[in-house]
Amino acid sequence: MRALRLAFLALAIAWAVGPLYLLVKVSLAPTGEVMTAHPTLLPHGLTLAHWRRLFAAGQVSAPLVKSLLTASLVSLAALALAAPAAYTLARLPARWRYAVLLGLFACRMLPEVSLALPIAVVFLRWGLLDTIPGLALSHLTLVLPVAAWVLTTSFLTIPHEIEEAAALDGCSAWQTLWRVTLRLALPGLVVAGLLAWLFSWEEFVLATYLTLGSKTMPLQVYYYLYQGNWFLTAACAVLMTGPVFILTGLLQRHLRAVDLAGSFR
């Protein structure tokens, strides 16, 4: 039984990590290793030529900047909109809370294609098509429910007593909020912000509808993919995945602090 379990885990890990390894390999492989009927599994040579070409053409800096800015904007705006809502929700009776959260999640159930078309038409008229604020606005709609949920869970863990104690100590409502509540809810804020950032960074459907000339990173990867250029696709894809792991790694300790499993007890 034990051997079976270990074998299964080994296979599962290989399956999980293998394809990513292949992606990185392709981005660094000499063309002969990939442009052949029998691609090699292990690297026989390494080259930075594809990476150099990716940056030399100058085509990737604009999408990189656009995605970075959009994601950061979405992250901040999500916190700004969801935090007050979560604070309110945490103080509501449980029934109402679930009802509202359910309503929020119902919004997330809608297929993006059903929202994207009218949004694209309206944005074109308002001059928001192809812009960062426009894209951020549309990403927010899909991000808010999750942000609200995480923050509500987080605010729920802060007992009223702490806030009452702060008030007794002479803090005004604002001071309580700043110094006590938000500080205690910091892990939740970080998680919600991170989730929002990650979602916006990789979002594809809305970006497809709402851009014309200035692509985002996912669209740039798709562009190379569509054109059949394996190497630039791989390099661009690796470039796009890097920040995800870096950010998640940096903010790891906050992620563990949020007890997502608590919702099952």
Partner: protein
């Protein structure tokens, strides 16, 4: 004088004396559909000298020919035309004109260098008015894996029967088809189909025409000999299939030559292709330049057109990409490895035919793609598939949708 007032007067004077910032910072938006290798040359070699000369910026965006109409319509509906100049496939022109999206050009604006080939210059005149100006002609040539052909003692096929024989040899030897047909649907498939129907003496717009039916029957026979990648093959991915040797013979535009050269695939050679039962015919595709109605920088756009048509630029395009040129006098210093394909292109151009420009091309593409998909990939019979589609095509020609 009070310092504040003096400062204000100075500012106004300086402001009046300085060149108009609006003209300096003008950004021209140009759209085209190009492969990655072609974009490199355009962006790095062709556009910068123009930007310096006119003191403006040119932003070149990749827009596939099938979405251009929709994008222009959307911009017009919103009252903001952002595109200044587009290069469009010479097959999707009538729909742009019919939708009133393209500006007519006066004789003065349309004045072209006499070195430009008259047949190509005539392409841009529709309904008696001049809308477009030539940019580059294009014709598909046939690539083949010389190593594999030599190993089996085969010669590049010059007739349909020879093609079948080559296909059968490879299939028998390897158990898998090695002939590539661009079967993804849409423009790549229909362009190839048009050419094949024309070489069989058929009418591409009539699916009941005997030549057309014969072509589909031939495709049906060819189907088992096709490489599985044909299902998804289009202009870009065909080169990959050749490079990765999942196909040994394929038709494609000449830009692939440079790509394969970059990949070090010297074993893949080109020639003009084969003849059908009636004749050898090769569709002359390529792009023409047009200015959308409401374009913000029309004068700059006209200048850019002149620049792109100039001898210097056409020679660069010929030398670096192997593109056929619109001028009779631009041969350029073609690199040795590019020469054979340039000859193949010239030979193919000699059998060149122009596609008929019709307003219902988008609908035609849909019907033709469906025919190819059902006959090639779903193994449905020709006599079962074609008649209803022929009826739909007829209705389309008479003005349906």
């Amino acid at each position: 004088m009070r310092p504040g007032l003096r400062g204000a007067i100075l500012t106004v004077l300086v402001g009046l004396a300085a060149p108009d910032p609006a003209a300096q910072a003008a950004t021209l938006i140009l759209t085209m559909r190009l492969a990655d290798a072609e974009w490199q040359v355009i962006r790095q070699d062709v556009l910068p000298p123009f930007e310096q000369e006119c003191g403006c910026r040119v932003r070149a965006i990749d827009v596939p020919p099938e979405s251009l109409t929709q994008r222009l319509k959307a911009m017009r509906a919103a009252g903001r035309m952002e595109i200044d100049l587009f290069a469009q496939d010479n097959m999707r022109l009538q729909e742009l004109v019919d939708a009133g999206l393209v500006q007519t050009l006066s004789p003065a604006e349309a004045k072209m260098d006499p070195a430009i080939l008259p047949a190509l210059a005539a392409e841009g005149v529709l309904d008696g008015r001049r809308y477009f100006l030539p940019f580059r002609p294009n014709v598909q040539i046939t690539y083949f894996n010389a190593k594999k052909f030599d190993a089996d003692g085969l010669a590049p096929p010059r007739t349909w029967d020879a093609l079948l024989a080559v296909g059968r040899t490879f299939k028998a030897k390897e158990g898998i088809g090695r002939v590539l047909f661009q079967g993804v649907g849409g423009a790549p498939t229909v362009t190839q189909l048009y050419e094949w129907i024309a070489s069989a003496g058929g009418d591409p717009f009539d699916f009941a025409d005997p030549g057309t039916v014969a072509t589909f029957r031939f495709l049906h026979t060819l189907a088992p000999l096709l490489s599985p990648d044909s299902r998804r093959a289009k202009w870009d991915t065909t080169n990959d299939a050749l490079a990765q040797e999942s196909a040994y013979i394929a038709q494609n535009w000449p830009f692939g030559v440079r790509l394969l050269h970059d990949y070090g695939k010297t074993g893949i050679r080109t020639y003009s292709g084969w003849a059908g039962p009636a004749r050898e015919a090769h569709v002359i595709g390529g792009d023409v330049l047009g200015i959308p109605v409401g374009a913000p920088h029309k004068d700059l756009a006209l200048r850019l057109i002149g620049y792109l048509q100039s001898r210097a630029v056409q020679e660069v395009l010929a030398a670096r990409l192997g593109w056929p040129t619109i001028r009779a006098n631009a041969t350029g210093a073609v690199a040795a490895w590019l020469k054979p394909s340039v000859e193949a292109v010239q030979e193919a151009m000699r059998h060149g035919i122009f596609r008929k420009n019709v307003p219902y091309w988008a609908g035609y593409e849909r019907i033709a793609s469906e025919a190819v998909e059902r006959i090639l990939w779903r193994a449905q019979g020709v006599s079962e598939v074609l008649p209803p589609l022929a009826a739909r095509l007829d209705a389309l020609r008479r003005g349906g949708r």
